[in-house]
Every structure is written in structure tokens, then in C-alpha cells.
Subunit: 432 residues, 2 copies
Amino acid sequence: VEQSDQQALTELLENLHAADIADLLEQVDAGDRARLIRLYDREFDGEILSELDESIREEVIETLNPLVLADAVREMESDDVVDLLEDLEVPQQEAILEALEDADRVAVEQSLSYPENSAGRLMQREVVMAPEHWNVGQAIDYMRNSEDLPDQFYHVVLVDPRLHPIGNVTLGRIMATKREVPLTELVEDTFQVIPADQDEEDVAYAFNQYHLISAPVTDGEGRLVGVITIDDAMIVQDEEHEEDILRLAGVGEESSLADRVIETTKRRFPWLAVNLVTAVLASLVIAQFEEIIAEFVALAVLMPIVASMGGNAGTQSLTVAVRAIATRDLTGSNVWRVIRREVLVGLVNGVIFAIVMGLVGLAWFGSPILGVVIAVAMVVNLVVAGLAGTVIPVLLEKAGIDPALASGAFVTTVTDVVGFFAFLGLAATVLL
Amino acid sequence: VEQSDQQALTELLENLHAADIADLLEQVDAGDRARLIRLYDREFDGEILSELDESIREEVIETLNPLVLADAVREMESDDVVDLLEDLEVPQQEAILEALEDADRVAVEQSLSYPENSAGRLMQREVVMAPEHWNVGQAIDYMRNSEDLPDQFYHVVLVDPRLHPIGNVTLGRIMATKREVPLTELVEDTFQVIPADQDEEDVAYAFNQYHLISAPVTDGEGRLVGVITIDDAMIVQDEEHEEDILRLAGVGEESSLADRVIETTKRRFPWLAVNLVTAVLASLVIAQFEEIIAEFVALAVLMPIVASMGGNAGTQSLTVAVRAIATRDLTGSNVWRVIRREVLVGLVNGVIFAIVMGLVGLAWFGSPILGVVIAVAMVVNLVVAGLAGTVIPVLLEKAGIDPALASGAFVTTVTDVVGFFAFLGLAATVLL
């Protein structure tokens, strides 16, 4: 491929799906990428752009011949163009908007007028609607005679005279039903209307919870302005999950393996900085007990175990809590029950590991007192871990802070500080 | 609601979606749940069962009046019954199978003959197919005259005479096209056939990657046996994500907030046990340096900082790697580039935090040598964290072990051991 053999390359890529070509472009390095694009230039498809990761999309757009780019964009559907444009710098945005035909440009500009990450950005504007009083025959005749049905649609949206959506009828039901049956008799049980300014996270939740296939989107006056389909919701769900996983690990919004060293370093830095503060706090606790450590060095050997077990148990609890908050399974009605459960789980595991570590401490250093100290500290820290791991995400959520982002730092601070303090404090009391 | 007022309860629940009723049942405690179910008995809907979490589904099934249960199950679609049955104990399974009509029972039993988590379990058996030589008019007439079209379908699957699927035509395109056009001219560009024994994780990947709406499922001879729709793929994707997040946090397969203390404790125990071994290993490293710690207690105060920073940086790298492996963005072609990047990121962040901690160490304990020691150990550990955080998940994947499950333990062992060893070893060399 790297022999600049344009013919062979074009043939090779021809059989690949746009998503796979995009993956290929993401996985080669920047030099190969530029060469690949220049070779493949004439065949370049708008869909490949949609599939590319943000971080290298800009790079690809800059490499592309502007004429090819304009062609590629003109072939795309309006919601894909919106998705493409919203991550670009203003000059690139304008160049692409100019390449569009007038009607498309207006549609794209209107979508861009909705807030970022809102339903209005996700929706496609092409909707098939029918007045509520129509019957199946009228709907079929209308669709059969219509010139510009969208490529993909699954429902006919019933609207009242003021264009308010009142029900969804699937194409399948229309196909299966006699001509004289009114459409209102065929509407689906589950029908959700989505306001254009709703957050896309809530949109994905509604699709997942109610197993929607498509849902009408309405403007501020409740009029139908577009439709969101399940494939868009699936992409949002995927992004939200990705974001949660990365935030829980303190990686920030990092979007791609293709990011460069300097960007990646910048994104990971803040979490490490927070962790440094946390770690120094824990060290300040240790520093209070310098004397006893100097006397009984075994304490220095054993103390990281208590902190580490607490940190892990806390991470378990907080992950469960963060997920349950995201899926809306953790609510006011069961929060106390969940807290009680986590504390009890911490207590049971705490007692088990206390016995194990007590025996290890005894066997290793031959000191029953040391065994008792580490056992008690273990129980205390695992109980605190269960408590903090649940209460902290819930409180952060109440305060309007994303619990996936911030819980980790708080919980490990608590388990480190409590772990060292319980272990060393107890040791100081008993041993001195 | 708890005043046993059946009338009021039924009215209240009537307007709720089955998924919301299921959520409600999950969030109340076991006693309220049983009372609720007995009150709501007569109206109980099969869909509510599908929406319930596995862990309390069995409990609900046991509480339900067997007659109500049989009614509820008879209303469900075949793939939902399969989903319900596969998690139940054998006697419960048989009771439900007996309640089904003969044809449905055979269909369900056939689906259950496919391996767990395979495409065969996911698919619905109701497919609308058409011979490849038909035109739009024939397809419309066939559908209009058919008695038993499925409730939800989006595509007509074209098949050759041996029932091998050869293309998908959307209902929308059929609606929009003249009667005399052959269906083969309308097939979608993207067409994926899914073998019935394919793992559901790969199915979800295909839907996500190629933006499929539905895909035909074939048996061992390549014959069409069913169809999987995007809503099922979305549920699988959601479960896979959930599993990844929970495994990364060492929570195991824990499925629900409704799990009891004892189950939860059992599920979390193994990871904590692994962590204990890890922590003890790290302590063994510390124990090698007891003498120098007894002499310079500042080392005991500062050593957790190096280990903690390494653990966090390692978690960042491994999370990115585990995600990239799951989304198939990390492959043989870019693994070296990603490793290089992670190591460089570790180096850059390492140098920054080395300077910060060097100064903190100097200021706190007034010892320039201590500052240099912690600085060097920090750089070493963050570079190792980046390396281990990428290499370990990749090797685990190659060895056929789920990297989400096992990477954490290995990586933190490496960063703990290297962190303590680098810091204390260097201190011993320089200070003694």
C-alpha cells in the first residue's frame, strides 16, 4: 500500500465499509495517513469523515483537496454534516457550509442553533408525518406519491392541525393493515416526544428505557421539527459510557488513541495533580506518627496494606453507585437501603480480611498486638470505604457535579487518611 | 400505596410504562415488593418481567400467582421469553414452557439450543423475506395479503432459492419506489449476515460499526433463520459496557443494586483478596528496607506518594488500553505507537511531578538528597506505569483473558512494587 500504487489502493479500499476505512486511517501514523488520503483522494467519501475520530478529523480535512471535500460533504445527510461541523474551527466550518446547497445550508445552520449535546443537534429534519384523521389507505397513497421520502424511516408520525405530534405508527403495521383502518388505531403504546433542547444523555436514556425506535422532536411550542432514530441514540449511549469509564479512571475526556503525547499529557495531568494533593494529605497523617514508626518499623511495612484495601473497597462501592446514578437506579427511595448494604458488605469483608491480616501480622512479626491493631484498622477502613463510596457520589450528584469525574479523588482521600490514621493511631495508643 | 388500596394502585400503575413499573419494583424493599405484586396481580404484564433485573425476577416469579404468570408469558414475544427463561432454574423454566402454546414452545426451545450469549439467543424468529427476483409491487402485494407480519420489522430480507440471505431492503425504500422496480436494485449498501453462533458482543460491535438497523441471522448452512434488530444490539452494548466498568473496578459481574449483602460480599471478595496479595507483595519490598526507614522516618512518610501516583497513572493507561481493545481501536498495527505514547506521557508527567515533589520533599524535610530521591523515583514509576498499563492488557488479551477483569491487579502490583523499590532502594544507596 505504501508503494504509492493508487490503482491497487483504490481497489483494496473499495470493498471496505466507510467505518473500516476510518479505523484504518486512525491506526496508521500521521505521515502514512496524509499519503493515503492524497492517493485515495478522488474516491473519498463523506461517510468516512463522519466515522473518523474528532482528533484526526480536522487533520484529514486539512489534507483533503477542497474540491473533494466539498463533494464529500454534499453527499452527506444533514445530521451528519451537523455532527461534522460542530467540532471544527470557524474557518473550516464556513468553508464547508459554503460548499452546501442553499436548502441544506439553512437546515444545517438551524440545527447548529440548538445547544451542543441537545436533541436538536441529533435529530434529522426529514420526517414523514400524516394528519391524525387519515386512514391506512391515505397514508400509503401519500407515501407512494411522495417524491422525497427520507432514505431511512420507520414510523409515520401522526400530527394534529397545529403540528403537535400525537402518535407513532410503524411502517410494518401500516403494511399489515387494511386500507380503511384509521391510523389512530395503530399507534404504538409507547410514545415519547422529545423537546429539541433536551440533553442528549436524557434522549439516550429514553430510548434505552422505553425501547424506542424513533421519536419525534418538538420545538418550544410543541410543534414537530424532526425525528431522532435509535441508531443516533445508540451512538450517544456509547459515547456516554465511554465518558463514564474514562472519567472514573481520571483520564478526562480523552477521545482517541490517535491523540498526541502533549494532548494526552495535558488531559491526564489534572487528575494526577489532584491525586498528588490527596497523597500528600495522607503523608501528613503519617508524619504525625513519625516517632512510633521509628520505634516499630513493622508499622511502616504494614500500613500501606490497610490503605490499599480501603482504596479498593471504596472504588468498588463508588463504581456501583456512579453506575446506578447514571442508569437512574439509585434514587431517593432506595439510597438508605443501598448505603446500609454497602456498609454491611464493608463490615463482612472487613472482618474476614481482618482475621487474615491479623494472622499474617502475628506470623510475620510475632506480635499479637500488631495483629489486633491491623485487624481493627482493616474493619474500620472497609466500613468507611463502603460508606464514603456511596455517600460521596450521591452528594456530588446532588451538588450538580458529575460523580464519575470527582468521586474517585474524594473516596481515596477518605480511605487513605482513615486507613493510615486508624492503623497508626491505634498502634500509638496500644504500643506506646 | 401501602394501605392495600388495590383500586388506587391499579390506576396509578396503569399509566406507567412496564420499564418504569419494573424500576419501581426494583427500588422498593422485598416486603413492599411482594405486597405490591399481590395487589397488582391481575393486571401484571409480561413486559414487566422482561424489564426486571435478573436478581429480583426470580423472586417476582415465585410471588406471582401461577395463572397470572402463564397469561403474562403467553403475551410475550419469543425472544423475550428466551431472555426470561435463560436465567431461571430448571423447574421454573419448565413451568413457564408448559404455559406456552405448542408452536411458541418449539420456537423458544430451538432458540435455547443455541449457546448462551450467542446471536441465536438474541434473534427473533419472525422474518419478512422475499425471493430475490421479486419487484416492489410483488413485495407490497405479498405484505398486504400476509396474515401474520411481525409487529416490528424494518427490512425485507431478499433470499436466494436455498434461503441464503443476499440483501436487505428497507420498508421506507419500498414505499418510495415504483412497483416495477426489482428489489435487487434497492438493497442497502451495508449488509451484514450474522451466524447464529456468533458471540453477542461481536453482534453489538457490527451494529455499532456499520450502523445496522437489522441483520439476518443464518444457521450452519447459511440459511436464514431469524433477524436481530438494533434495539436488541443496543441492550447488549449496554450490558457489555456495564460489565467492563464493573470489571475494571473489581466488582465482578454484580448485576444489581437489589442484590443482598451476602451476594454482594461474595462478588467483591475475590478482587479484594487479590489486592491483599498485591499489597502484601508491596509490603515485602518495604520490609527489605526496614533499617533505612528506622533511620530516616521521612522515607515512610513519603513512600506512599510515589506508589499512589504510579497506581493512578497506571490506571489511566490501562483504562485507555482496555477500552481501545474493546472497541478494536488497538490492534497489532498501532500497538507500538500507543506504547511509545504512553511511555512518553509517563515521562513528561513524571518529570513535572518529580520537580513538584522534589521541592516539596526539600521544603518539608530540608534535605536536597531526599528531594532528588523522590523525584527520580517518581519519573521511574510513572514511566513504568505507562508501559505496564498498556503492555499488560495487550498481553492478557493475547492470552485469552479479559483485560478488563485482570489488568488492574497486575498493573497496581507493578506500580506498587516498582514505586517502593525505586524510592527506598535509591534512598538506601544514596543515604547509607
